[in-house]
Symmetry: D2
Subunit: 155 residues, 4 copies
């Protein structure tokens, strides 16, 4: 089973445009924060994760979003996030934003596990996602250091 995170977001005045609804790039910023929160729930704070695994980040390579209903400032919404697929050096994340229990925005991300190129520090390259990272997203494993340790010992 996949680890799921639910994040509550208060829609701010400054997130909305002259049509009085959330300006859609702000949804993408929300979802970026939701992906960060999902990793944190798995035990991986973003700052710590970058240090531990010597990555520059988990940049987006492909993004799809459908906006089904608008949200407005002073609304409080819930975003449910989960990783739907792990590939070799990339992974897929799904976010579902619910406003008053109605699915208002759905977003699918493909991100890569990225490092600075050794050949050219201005370039970014993908790298295989470490197995231990993937395992932290299996429900039952997260926030259970003792269990994780024993599993690692078996490898």
């Amino acid at each position: 089973m996949n680890l799921t995170n639910r994040k509550t977001i208060h829609i701010e005045w400054g997130d909305c445009d002259p049509a009085q609804i959330v300006h859609y790039p702000r949804y993408l910023a929300y979802f970026d924060a939701c992906t960060t929160a999902l990793f944190k729930k798995a035990g991986l704070s973003k700052r710590q994760m970058l240090k531990t695994y010597q990555i520059v980040g988990i940049p987006m390579v492909d993004l799809r979003a459908s906006f089904k209903a608008p949200s407005r400032f002073s609304d409080t919404v819930i975003v449910e996030s989960e990783i739907t697929e792990w590939r070799r050096s990339s992974f897929c994340v799904r976010h579902r934003l619910l406003n008053k229990n109605v699915l208002a925005v759905e977003c699918f991300e493909i991100r890569v596990w990225a490092v600075t190129s050794e050949a050219d520090p201005e370039r970014i390259e993908s790298k295989p996602v470490p197995r231990e990272v993937i395992e932290m997203f299996s429900v039952g494993n997260n926030r259970s250091p003792a269990h994780q340790k024993s599993r690692r010992n078996k490898q």
Copy 2:
């Protein structure tokens, strides 16, 4: 033939994240400005368009973007934008962001021609795109007031 707009964008420090590359929600903000610029090239300033046609905007309903190469602060990029399809009350826009002549980001938008619902001022409804708006995007028509005038007279 479709009207195309080319917009030059200077990547700002504040558009970039700790990985030193553009934070992807900012690309979507760029593309929103590019759609606005495309309408302006067709003769429709956004403010004037909202007044003339009594719409609240042209909100996004579906978005796809693929990020092929990163861009960085101090880069100057070009975005080519065009409307690829007109539907009844929606339309499709394609943006291609080029950095040093390489396609770095591609984005497909579906937007609706939107008005405030008469039944409920908190709701937004789509409405058929006026034929004269669509015609302004046919190359040959734009920025040719005399021609447009004669065409309108014939209707």
Copy 3:
């Protein structure tokens, strides 16, 4: 005594710039949300407040901020906010952002109680702040509807 609000903010990756610290315009966006939260604590949700008092907002007219220490993604900070002065049609707000109990940013805002001009709908005018709004910020008054009602009855 003044009503004070404390808001916890998680610093996001997308709020930070290539120097790996919060890009300062994002602090101003945080503080805008903190002013909104302070009004909400007083009993005034922004959306409801705009409807009740027929205002277009509480736009900024003067802003001062000093940035004493940087904050970084994955930091969790606290912002303490209070209204330090009520003037006829404007008011002063102070925000103090604390990172690990150290004052990292201090911000002073002057905002106006604003309505659309009747003469010109494109203009915005200030208007006296209603006495009942000001009273909601006196500690002891907030979130005490019965008390507020009796006070209002006496006027």
Copy 4:
């Protein structure tokens, strides 16, 4: 005499809030871009400047802004920027945003010339601004490589 830069900015839909005016944190993002453009006019592209002088940026330490008149999407504004004072390791920038020749926003920044602390890579320290950087802002010097070279040779 001080070098001055004039930057034309098109106000975007996404820069405006539900009151249909620019959301003030966006003005600060504009001014950050204007400071970058002023340095570029002096001959210092931000990316190149960071490499040449091994700095992490020119972060803000103090900010004052007064908002005298609102601007709206589809407005085109001009920002005039200049450095008003050089101190040892900091400097003052003034921005004046003009909308239809009227001063709409005025902003005063104090920024520091900043490097990563050698003792603690998570800390940022200020450092004296190099004399040659300051000289590039004296009118008559900028964009005159031959002259700059002869001046450097004399040092």
